[in-house]
Symmetry: C2
Subunit: 719 residues, 2 copies
């Protein structure tokens, strides 16, 4: 049970004028004591009202017996009472004019049935009282600008956490606050951190949407286990691109996610992690896997510099680490171009004669301690129009030399808007790094980290470019005559529906076995394929109900009898609608499909066809609908995509038609998300360039019209 | 030019009784000054002799005008004179009875031609003087047990580096010592660190072999850019398994390695990184990519606990991080089994009623601070015979609670020999961690790090098991009638050679075009394939010189004429040896091949056949020869290997025959490494189980007998 509200304004939640602590404790180490201590000792300027009938006063504050006794309305009530009392307390909060409740108490849905009932009661009380709820079973909320420490746990006992232009929403309180503390200790401050606990009401997406719009938030981060509205995730990602603010997303829960039992191969190849990746790939998300990734990407984005393209120059004073940096750049799709003659000539003016002027550039040990020359080289590289970003490996940053180098580098950097990423040695001086931090020059303690930052910037830029060119609608909506009820459609029928969106299939005719027996000439040219048509046999090959390469009438008649017999043997109760005679297709075999997920709506999958899609799992996904340019990106993402571009002297395939078909199928799926459960177009043959594509087999699983899901409207809005 | 010596004994190099510093400087910040300071101030007990005609004394020591004036023979001379003087100084060292020279001076091969001449002179002088040389252009050597700091750079100015049971050999001085310093700062000490510089004489492998045998070295690490003897790398890896000591290898230089221009597809799909990986995959190597990996793997191995299998239990007090740990385990091939009923019953005795007794196990916040119960759970898991390792996520380790927890955990750990990996929060106490370090319990600052450690242990165990079962020789050597000179052999001839090692091919006959014209029946059954046989057309499909599925004599005659015409058109000068009539093969198409590398000797490659090998790069490699069980491992490594095991109702392929064929080909390649340049068996059809494999095409590139390489003897020794 969830509360349906309009988009909430969390202004009063994150900047409350007054906070009540219900279940406040005199033992400041307890859950009800920690926020009392933090809110009174760490600099919070608002009013704090402890509520607990057991006490008269707490920490020199009047302690009230209940929330209604508190003299002024509180924006936020922090609740730390036993789970069985929470619903009642919420009702009282409503009466007292509280807007938001942060429920720290545990003992709800996470403990099983009894807890789930308590959670439902809590939600009902909140709805009646028009109160928005964070939690329950959460660690709380921090606004480090106003020193509002509204929660418990290790981080809430640390008064020295610094504010900064990041915001974090975490679905794991313990882990999220742990990471945030570690990151903040590295001088990357958070203005806001919220743990969402059981998400009985407010969920991670609500808060992410809100923080993304805050002027004092430049980078949003989130630790996600799962969300229930993939379409909002998609919209969030697009908004991030519009605002030029990245969302660093640490998604967990990718393992052991049992494949669903589904009819189509597409659905069998699509599970939880793919849906998230489909959303992350288009929006302003940067996926992270480690606290270090968070820091490296955050520093890169906080520098407010973005590259124009993928070209990177790497500058080191040690060949060994140059090689390492080059490896990492290549892994992350960054390119190290050769330096232009102009740049080389400029470098020759002050570099040792024997220095390698290749990229990575090794200035040699001779210049290692020569800050001015190192920085002059940086300046030359920044001026090269072919170079989009510069990665510097800097040795020791200690002492005067380190300070000088950093101060001088800032002057050089100020003359350019290109990103500069600095990989510093472990032998580093906090003072020097503080100079870099103050001027927002991105550094990392590891070479890989510097490259991670550079790659994150490039990824964000590329996605922004693609988004700005994206077409909203490439094909008009078509009406389709859906069956009245849920059904698995046979191949012939499926192809007819696909044709409504202009997805071509091989020439074919559906005949009864009797009609085949009477044929005097082939209705499609030899060689042809013979298949059984049955809505009950979605996988005809496995039912031995396909014959390929039939070259004459006698074979054809025999094949028709054989496929029907095999189908009957495979499933005696199968409805057999006839025999399909089909033109043989040639080209590159692909698998194209749709799965309509309850959380993400229709998702398109593209992979190599045949058994390779399944065994190699070389499949990529996007939330439907997508335009043609996005379809091209999908094709490029396939490892096996090279097959389409032509290898070993083969001519390239008709990639343009494939892209158009992917987009058309995605619009079909989006327009009719209320009726489509799964689609398989497998194989889809991609013919040589300019000769189009043809579906050689197809399967549509239709769902019952009763099962309309919310995603429908979301899709429409997205279109 | 390299010095050929017998296997060197580096005893006197790493434990010198007396050290001369030639080019010693009174300026202790200079290259000739830093070792003088370090050797006199940081605790080195041996004699130190500064040598420099400019000084009478240096740091209260007599300074000698040259090495021959030094009163006692020195085991080691550290040389820091201009590059042009080095060869002369080496000669003098020879006269003075010095055994080892560590040449810090730069200006040799790394700066180009002039430097290369100086380096050759240096090598010649060393050979004449029977002196073994480290460097030039290196940062030197450290023995931290004896406080012998023989070099320069930041690390050599740090007296607080602690000794410990690691050794490092680095081909990048700056980076290697930087990493070692960072690792040592995390209480993981090195007894020995050597930077090898230009490797004019002693190379990284020499030192790795030596350190691996040292009793005070438990873990060997290396930062490698490249080596010249792949067979020694292989032997080193095997020795590591025999000794039970891992080699943590950080290999860089994997990008931009241009593919070689080669005839076979195998060679086109095989470049530098694959050769190294082929060696790393079998030996006692653990590949690392970050300093953090080094620390995590080192701590895991230093615990002296090894798992029996891949099963891991994960214990947390926060569900969120449990999910993350499970993700990482799955990525690294570790398995989280369900807990047994016995284990669950034991846990129920003290865990909260609602705690999830799945794996990962969340003991819930209630037990977070309850050290005794947390550790009791660890104890229960360690006793479960199904569990091979336990990963614990520990919250705060500060204060009394942290100390208690650690002390208690040690008692629990002492009762088991299974690995325990602890992921600690950033909120950690150095004191508590010191307790863990002292008792060699492995911890990591990140969840991924704990999993990395567990996975490294499992990998080492699996490799050890496989190595112990490896067969030395599975097929007898066969004599082969090689052509007199280098040659590319046609398909028919290539298959004949393969047959000598029992590698079966499709039935085929080679006929002249005239003979084909006169045929009155097919010499192999229809349908058949017709191909041109020409040593000059290695890729017949690209020359349009293949016709498949020929079903009658008329077609056959037409095809024979057509393939020859196409071949002539493709290459008018091609020698045409006839027309091949060939049985059509069915089965799973694989690519099997050999490339004989100048550094690594013959390497076997296995991949999916057809265009997929090239486009998907789903290819795996091993240094030849390999036994059948290793061939099975190769098959399992292929992502596409599932095709062989049977998908979508297909029957499984004859994997046993494939493995046997891989092994046979590897012995052919190893036995005849002096004549084989490249082999392609592509496609190799793997038929259904127990029906064998057949080569449908083959290509052998023979090299000239003059081009015998050293690897031949290495291969023989390996066999």
């Amino acid at each position: 049970m969830h509360i349906a509200h309009s988009k909430p304004d969390f202004e009063r939640l994150i900047r409350p004028r007054a906070v009540a602590i219900i279940g406040a404790s005199g033992d400041l180490s307890r859950i009800g004591g920690q926020p009392l201590r933090a809110l009174t000792e760490f600099g919070y300027a608002g009013a704090v009202y402890p509520v607990n009938p057991k006490y008269e006063t707490l920490k020199n504050l009047v302690c009230y017996p209940n929330i209604t006794a508190v003299p002024q309305p509180c924006d936020v009530a922090i609740i730390a009472v036993p789970s069985t009392s929470v619903a009642g307390v919420i009702e009282e909060c409503g009466a007292a004019g509280v807007s938001f409740a942060i429920i720290l108490s545990a003992g709800f849905r996470e403990i099983g049935k009894t807890g789930a009932i308590l959670q439902d009661e809590l939600v009902a009380a909140a709805r009646r009282s028009r109160i928005r709820v964070i939690g329950p079973n959460c660690q709380g909320l921090m606004n480090l600008r106003t020193r509002m420490y509204g929660g418990f746990g290790t981080a809430f006992q640390n008064p020295s956490l610094q504010a900064g232009p990041l915001a974090m929403v975490t679905q794991s309180g313990g882990f999220g606050f742990g990471v945030a503390t570690e990151v903040a200790a590295a001088s990357i401050g958070f203005n806001y951190i919220v743990s969402t606990g059981n998400e009985a009401d407010v969920n991670a997406l609500d808060l992410l949407e809100f923080f993304l719009e805050q002027d004092d938030v430049e980078v949003v981060t989130t630790y996600l286990e799962g969300i229930k509205d993939g379409r909002r995730l998609l919209a969030l990602g697009e908004r991030a691109l519009e605002l030029g603010k990245p969302i660093l997303v640490w998604k967990v829960g990718n393992s052991g996610s049992g494949r669903r039992a589904a009819v189509s191969h597409t659905a069998n190849l699509t599970s939880g992690p793919e849906f998230y990746r489909a959303a992350f790939r288009e929006g302003g998300f940067i996926e992270i896997r480690e606290a270090a990734n968070l820091m490296d990407a955050a520093r890169a984005f906080l520098s407010r510099r973005l590259p124009r393209g993928r070209n990177v120059a790497v500058l080191t004073s040690s060949g060994g680490v140059g090689v390492l940096l080059a490896d990492r750049c290549e892994e992350r799709e960054l390119h190290l171009p050769e330096l232009s003659e102009t740049t080389k000539n400029e470098l020759r003016k002050f570099m040792p004669e024997y220095a390698a002027l290749s990229n990575p550039i090794d200035v040699t040990g001779q210049l290692r301690a020569d800050a001015a020359s190192m920085n002059r080289a940086v300046s030359v590289l920044l001026q090269d129009p072919e170079i989009d970003q510069v990665i510097i490996r800097k040795g020791s940053t200690v002492g005067n030399l380190g300070r000088e180098w950093a101060t001088n580098l800032i002057e050089v950097a100020d003359k350019s808007d290109k990103p500069i990423l600095i990989s510093v040695l472990s032998d580093r001086s906090e003072e020097t790094l503080e100079i870099l931090n103050r001027h927002r020059l991105a550094w990392s303690p590891t070479p890989s980290g510097a490259v991670f930052g550079a790659a994150a910037l490039y990824e964000f830029v590329i996605k922004t470019k693609r988004y700005s060119k994206r077409e909203k609608r490439t094909f008009p909506r078509q009406e389709i005559d859906w069956p009245a009820a849920a059904a698995t459609l046979g191949e012939h029928r499926s192809k007819q529906l696909l044709a409504a969106y202009g997805i071509p299939a091989v020439r074919e005719v559906l005949l009864s076995t009797e009609a085949v027996a009477k044929l005097t000439h082939a209705p499609v040219p030899f060689p042809l394929a013979v298949k059984v048509e049955s809505p009950d046999i979605p996988h005809k090959t496995e039912a031995d109900s396909v014959r390929l390469g039939i070259t004459n009438l006698a074979e054809l008649r025999k094949a028709a009898v054989a496929v029907v017999a095999a189908a009957r043997k495979h499933d005696p109760r199968a409805r057999i609608e006839g025999v399909l005679l089909q033109e043989m297709a040639v080209g590159v075999e692909m698998m194209l499909g749709v799965v309509n997920d309850v959380f993400f709506g229709p998702v398109v999958a593209l992979g190599l066809g045949g058994i390779f899609a399944e065994t190699l799992r070389d499949v990529t996904h996007r939330c439907a609908p997508i335009d043609i340019s996005t379809a091209h990106v999908m094709i490029e993402e396939l490892q096996g995509g090279a097959v389409l571009r032509g290898v070993r002297g083969r001519s390239p395939a008709d990639i343009d038609s494939l892209a158009e078909t992917i987009s058309r199928l995605s619009f079909l799926a989006a327009d009719h998300a209320d009726r489509i459960q799964e689609i398989d177009v497998n194989p889809l043959f991609v013919r040589p360039a300019r000769q189009g594509v043809v579906a050689a087999d197809a399967l549509i699983v239709v769902k019952s019209p009763a099962a309309i899901v919310n995603t429908d409207s979301a899709v429409a809005a997205n279109v």
